[in-house]
Each structure stands twice: as C-alpha cells, then as structure tokens.
Symmetry: C2
Subunit: 314 residues, 2 copies
Amino acid sequence: MTTAPGTFDPRKPLTPDGQTYHGDHAYAFYQIPVDARKLPIVMWHGAGQFSKTWETTADGREGFQNLFLRRHYGVYLIDQPRRGDAGRSSVETTIKPVPDEQLWFNQFRIGLWPNYFNGVQVARDAQSREQFFRAMTPNTGPFDMGVVSDGVSAIFDRIGPGILFTHSQGGGPGWLTAIKNDKVKAIVAFEPGSSFVFAEGEVPAPIPSAFDTVQGAAVPIEQFMALTRIPILILYGDNIPEQAVDLPAQDSWRARLKMARLWRDAVNRHGGDVRLIHLPEIGIHGNTHFPMSDLNNVQIADLVAQFLKEKQLD
Amino acid sequence: MTTAPGTFDPRKPLTPDGQTYHGDHAYAFYQIPVDARKLPIVMWHGAGQFSKTWETTADGREGFQNLFLRRHYGVYLIDQPRRGDAGRSSVETTIKPVPDEQLWFNQFRIGLWPNYFNGVQVARDAQSREQFFRAMTPNTGPFDMGVVSDGVSAIFDRIGPGILFTHSQGGGPGWLTAIKNDKVKAIVAFEPGSSFVFAEGEVPAPIPSAFDTVQGAAVPIEQFMALTRIPILILYGDNIPEQAVDLPAQDSWRARLKMARLWRDAVNRHGGDVRLIHLPEIGIHGNTHFPMSDLNNVQIADLVAQFLKEKQLD
C-alpha cells in the first residue's frame, strides 16, 4: 500500500493528497467441488494470457478448469498481478494496440501463418481462430518476476497446500513461487518459457536461438534445493525442431526445450524429481503451445491426472 | 479487426507489418445450473470494477453470482470492453497508479472517511476493507458508451434473450444495450450513474451537484421507445440526501437519484414500466452503492427475485 503525502479533503476527492492505493495483488476465481480431493490446483496463465487459458477452449469445449473439477479437484484460476482482473498496478504503464496476431499464431505453434501444421490439434474455423486471438489481455504494469511470484505465493498462504499448474511465461515465476512457499506441493509446467533457475555456479551456457537467447538465472543453492523436494512434471507439445532453424517461432522453442532438459538434469542431480515429457516422444502428436486447450486436451488431462495419482497427490 | 499495412514476415515477428489485431470485445464467464430458468441473467459492473462485483463479497460471503445460480438462473458475469479480462483495447492508453481509495470510500457511500455511516451494511474489519479496495481494475482504453454497449449487445446476440443487471456506470450503456438489442428482456439497474437517455426534446434541465452536473442524453424517440417495452427496476441505497449538501460524494447521488426519478416518469409517461425503489423508503436501511454485496444482499436478492417473478421473467 502507498499513501500520498498530505491530508485527504472530502471536498476535493479528485486530489490524491492523503489517499491510499493498494495494488500488485493476484486475482483468483475458485470452485471447490463436493467431495474434493485433498489438494486443490492453482492454474497460472502465460504471457499475454489470463484465466481464460484454463476456461472454455477457443472452439467452445471444456478446458482444464472443468476437466479437473469433474475429477474432484478444487480449482483456482488466477490473473497474475498487473494482468486482467488483477490490473491495479503500482507502476505506471502505457498500453499500445500493436497488431501482433500472426506473431502469436506462429509463436504458439499453430502453424506457419497462414498455414496450419499438418495434424495440429486446433479447430481451423474462422470463429475459433478469432476467439483464440481475443483470448489475450495486456499487462497493466511492467512484468516483474518478483511481484507476480509474491502474488501467487500469497494465494497459497491463503488457501494452504496445493498443486501449481503453470503455462509458458508463468513457468519461471512458478519456480520462484515454490522456492518462496512450501505450500506448493507439486508443479505441472506446460511449455515453460525461458526463465529456469539454477543453483549459483551451475547455470549452463546461454542457448542462442533465431528469436532470442535463453539464459538460466542463478539462485542460492538453499533456494534451489526447494525445487528438489516436490514432484515436477514438464510437458512440451509438437513441432519443436531438435536442430536449429531460421524461423524465430520454431527455434525459440528448440532453445527452451533444450534448456528445460538441462534444468531437469540439474534438479535431479541434486536429488529432485523432475519428469520432462516431450509429447511426440510418447506418441502424442500435433499439440501446440496450449496442450490444456488443444483438441486432445482430455488426453492431456488424463496424462496429468495419472502423474498426480502416481505421486500420491490425488 | 485492424490490419497493419505491409506483409507479415515470419522472420521479423516483432514488426507489425501485415499483422492483425482484434480488440474492444466484452469477456463473459458463465454458469448454467441444472434445471435452469428460461432467461439467464447478464451481470454488468460499474466504473473501476469488473466481474468481482457479483462474485464473493469483500468479507467473503456469496455474491449475486451464486445467490442467483442457487435460484436456478443462468448467470453471465462480464468484463466490459477495455476493462479487466477484456483488456485488449483498440485505443492506446496510459494507466497511472493515483491514490484514490478515500474518494471511493466516500463515493460508494460507506461513510465519510475514516468513519463508517451508522448502520451501514458493510463489514468494518481491516481485511474486508482492503479486499474492497483491491476489487478494482483500471480501464485499458478510453471509456466509450458505444463500444461497451456494442460489446454487451454482442453477448445477447450470442446467448439469446436474457435479463440485464447493471451497476452504476453500467447503467447508462445498459439503456443503450436495450435500445440496440431486443433480446434484453428486462433491466435491473443498481444505482445507475449519470447517463440517462431521454427522447429528443424531452431532456430535463441539467442537475448541478457539489461533485459534477448530471445531464440527460438525447436519443431519437424511436430508440427511446425500446425502453418502454421492457420491465425495469431501479434500486438506490441509503445515505443519499434529499437536499443539497456540500459533500461531493453525497451530493452526487442526490443529483443522480433526482435524475433517475425524472427518467422513470419520462419512460412511464410513454407507456413504460419502470419502478424505482429508494431502499430506505421501503424500510431497508444502510445500503451502500453496492447493494448486491452489502451485508443484507440476500434480502436484496429476494427483492429482485420477487420483481422478476411478478414480471413473469422467472
């Protein structure tokens, strides 16, 4: 909370003097089913996204919100601080409507605009595509790993032990949230982005790509060890090349998947329990950057539910 | 949709050339109960607010979302275009974190900061107050009556006939939505703000207040007549003076209530069915600007449900 200097005058309400401002909180919408399992799931969106990621899909099917409610998990959908319904930011920002949807079509690995990948797990009608493009909302303040992980950690303080699902950009601050708060009992990370945290002295060499350079971040070993104490599942979809290509969208995911494998190995070397599944390697094809809303999202939910069962988190 | 000039180059994805942008849509979260009544309710927030208005209350009780789901109404909660999860605006804007909470405490008629009104229907603990302050989110583009009413009208096009609940600033564009779309079968307006629409030639004289001047807007008589064809209920809470006072927060509501009464009379003069209830006049005391989340919100829900039953909308 901040307070403006001076004294509030009720006859001059539009003057900030002496007034307060609360911001930078997360926002959560939750549903707890009858006969709920012991641990709820907190579902955290990625860059440019919000709770919608987990709600109905662009073509109108049920998303992970309902699919896991049906499996008797309590489900918390969040908007991270400075995004969507948690838009009250402590830092000023300017939002510009810059045309960017072909970037996202490619970056989210639906295809190479205007073509869809063969066998890609998305509906191709115009209405679904429009709904997909509209399922974005801008940052209302600067993206800040510390602020957003503090916000999500505060949710766990409020609700108690739970499972964290992250998507894309939420992956990096998701690791920080588990470091900050031991009420995070497991993480399922869908296509985590570039922010993997390593123990100091163990950060791998940066991995350049045609889009950007993926760099690990260093944290003290005591903090890193928190990530070895919980089961972690990482999922990546299809159409990620193993060799460098000159298309930024594809190549960025090659570099991220490569860094994710290094991270898995680093955590497991310290006694952790990280499993990374590149879906095509187990015969599941056509997934985009959004496995939780792709046409085969029930199959993906089955896979995740099986992991939670195996780890006795259900 | 807008399209930037030029041709999209997948090797330069951060350049807008040839890329598209969709924005200015509303966002809706909905739940349809088993054995739903024939008409769902679309719940529309006011200024600075979002779907939260109708969700859980600041002190953690159920809001109108659940209270009306329990009464077997389908419930749609919206974020209007350029607010919250519908943040993708077609117009650039800058968001400034200006301390303003004492303004809202007074303007929403909780009390005269830092004092609460005697008997006011809100929890007074610090946590509830903080949650109340945090239940705001900024505009991500200029507020535009046409854009927001188009967005909500599009929801009715999608879902079919329904009942519209509006709050505060949502009141004005709510009237426009009913003019634009005959699928709006009734309106319940909670403390509508200053934008009342009258037939051309029938706009009353502006009503000055210590906060601002309340002015009616003119629409062609054919458009105005749409508002005479549906039942409308308007509710105002407590602590609205009948005589002018020099406190902007109180006096602004005196002027709005006065204009609302003129509007009721104008619509009814043309054969309409507008009922305006100033809650203290029927013995319901202590309501703030948020009757749907005040401590007596079940009583308010009863009152509204009775109206819907009487008008055979249930």
